[in-house]
Symmetry: C2
Subunit: 414 residues, 2 copies
């Protein structure tokens, strides 16, 4: 039974290649950002691929593409798998995509082999999972979990466009997206296949990562207000240089990240300073940074440490700061029962596996509020991700898709 569900690796890789053709060709790598034209076009392709696989896809109120393979019971909670197909700017071809297309391939193999599950199987392409200018990642899975809130719709992108308006222009009804979350009774369990996006599996030589927890993420925007002045005539001791304080903050963020005892990282993603002329001391700077960890208590301490140190360094330079927390997401452990089904199936298939944390956020974190949740990782070459060099070998993707099928079968059993 299990071997029969091995994916058609060539077909799966072909679909990954086809989907990768939808991207903004004016930028390096693969850019298919939420609400962009390439994203809109790629979703038509995803919908067609689901239809062709017999999944009768619908676009739900939150903009998720939901395919359904009916089970023997014809009603009751469903088994759910999926991921997302949007990318970061200049990202790669595998992040999210592998989970959606492997889900479709599993459904295809189930039909091709005449394998009927007890539960309905949902394969979902969740709307807009990646971090974006609105500051609202995991749009579709948030909506499904009932945590997309009215105030999120007012968030604006760099051009001042509100998320709600962007959703409307994309053909969605934002109020409907808020109003129809799934119920826990809809979900028998959720399992998501994803690339690791880090170097741990490749380094240890394991085919499979069984995710222990999804890291919590705290994102902050620090605004520095100093005093401008002539760069040639203002003595060093008289300065209140906003950019110098922001630079010290970047090093503080890095130092705190390096001090994490287990999995913990801290990153300064973006900086701006002004007025930006040669010859003028900067009077303002903004720094966007984030900390992530699967260890909630470390995250909590790191958060306080970063703000305290940035504040104290800025104070010493006579620079005022303002700290705004943009995201504040606790770590989410995976469900032990789902982990057990994954490891049993991996052992059955003879796939060496390793328990790993997920440094990245995932739709799975939101699905966890609805039922048992687990994640399967496959290796990323050189640990690269969110960049054009992102790569997972076809054989690794096929192994992951096979394990996804085997896990869903085990989760389906009474």
């Amino acid at each position: 039974m299990i071997d029969a569900l091995a994916p058609d690796a060539g077909r799966l890789q072909g679909q990954i290649d086809e989907l990768s053709a939808f991207h903004d060709s004016g930028r390096p790598g693969w850019s298919r950002e939420v609400f962009s034209e390439p994203y809109r076009a790629s979703r038509e392709w995803v919908r067609a691929a689901m239809a062709e696989a017999g999944l009768n896809p619908v676009i739900d109120d939150a903009g998720n593409i939901v395919g359904r393979l009916p089970g023997r019971r014809r009603s009751g909670p469903a088994l759910v798998t999926g991921s997302h197909t949007d990318t970061v700017p200049s990202g790669g071809r595998f992040d999210g995509v592998v989970g959606v297309l492997a889900g479709i391939e599993v459904a295809r193999r189930l039909r091709e082999t005449g394998t009927e599950l007890e539960h309905d199987l949902l394969v979902v392409d969740f709307l807009g999972e990646e971090a974006n200018e609105f500051g609202i990642s995991c749009m579709g899975s948030r909506a499904v979990a009932g945590v997309l809130r009215p105030e999120h719709l007012d968030r604006t992108d760099g051009d001042g466009l509100a998320l709600g308006t962007a959703m409307e222009r994309f053909g969605l009804d934002p109020s409907a997206a808020l109003g129809r979350p799934w119920r826990a009774s809809d979900v028998h369990g959720y399992v998501e296949l994803h690339i690791e996006q880090g170097p741990l599996l490749e380094r240890s030589g394991h085919d499979i990562g069984v995710v222990t927890a999804i890291a919590g993420i705290d994102r902050l925007l620090v605004t520095f207000a100093g005093r401008s002045g002539h760069a040639g005539t203002t003595p060093m001791a008289d300065r209140h240089d906003a950019l110098v304080s922001a630079a010290a903050a970047v090093l503080t963020v890095e130092r705190v990240g390096c001090g994490a005892p287990v999995h913990g990282v801290a990153t300064s993603g973006h900086i701006q300073s002004g007025p930006g002329s040669m010859g003028v001391i900067t009077d303002q700077a903004r720094l966007w940074a984030e900390i992530r960890s699967v260890d909630g208590s470390w995250l909590h301490g790191a958060r306080r440490q970063i703000v305290d140190e940035i504040a104290s360094e800025a104070r010493a330079r006579g620079v005022d700061i303002d700290v705004e927390w943009l995201t504040d997401q606790d770590p989410v452990p995976t469900t032990e029962a789902v982990r057990d089904r994954i490891t049993e199936a991996a052992d059955d298939l003879g796939l060496p596996w390793k328990a790993v944390p997920s440094g990245a956020g995932h739709d799975a974190a939101h699905l966890a509020t609805l039922g048992p949740m687990g994640m399967i990782f496959v290796p990323s070459v050189a640990g690269r991700s969110h960049c054009p060099e992102e790569l997972t070998a076809p054989a690794d993707i096929a192994r992951g898709a096979h394990l996804l099928a085997a896990t869903l079968l085990r989760m389906d059993s009474p």
Copy 2:
């Protein structure tokens, strides 16, 4: 004679106020950048003010507005004074403006009192003195000194517009600007009145600064090339984060500046990093910085120290750097004979003076290649400059204009 040449302080202040009305009203403070619409309009006003003062102004081939008050000799080298009327973005109302308008006021008082000089007196509003996006400050005084070069015309601004094209659009002939420098035999001497732009005079309670030297300026652009990757999954030890290296460089620049034994400053004026998404480690950053000093040997050492330390810090993070020197300008001492005329005149007028360095660059540095050169500083409130808060009291401006007149009279004597 000297007291008769005291300026009409109200009239001079009125002219400063009038000129300040020409600025980009869409931005804070006073923005009248070279080639901008407000700059174009303000130059019509300056030309009219010179004409009204009897200076028969012409626009020379380099775009300088040159007014001439004929002297008794009717030919031979001229006494020259002047400054500039362009501003940095969101700058102030006094930097440069005081020198041009005080020069016009001196000419007016000479005519009103029937005082005829031996030499012709030129009052010059030099084109584009401030640092700008082309990286070519002191455009007009460079041209006059014969050091505006063909390759400068190819420099581009942020929109890719070449300086030569910008000059043409402004109604100038760039090849003529290159081809007609002044000769040393044209210049009997140059003296420029300017606001101090720093806090030294206010702190020591002196009315007048007699400039000893104009600081040399070295400006550099450092480009950092790291490696992008997922901010949640890439272990801290595996990163090659371009923004972290750039931040360390900002602190290096500050540290070197703070180590200057005499007058020396170092400033990071602007930073950029990319790709700029939350969740993605930066793979590129650019930092524009500068060091200034009146001490050429410190400048030379600081320059090497900054590059060495930035390179070594980046190397430790596996980040590649590229350093481009945009400006490399040696310190320029003022001429002892001109300093003596200034201090004699100040003593005569009972004005307490102090010898001070100029941390800022000035058109005077280029005029120094043509003949004896000196500069007079008046106090800046709280040392602020290149910002909207820039302020010099009307009484201080009047004292400076009076001293400028008295100095020119002394320089005029055989």
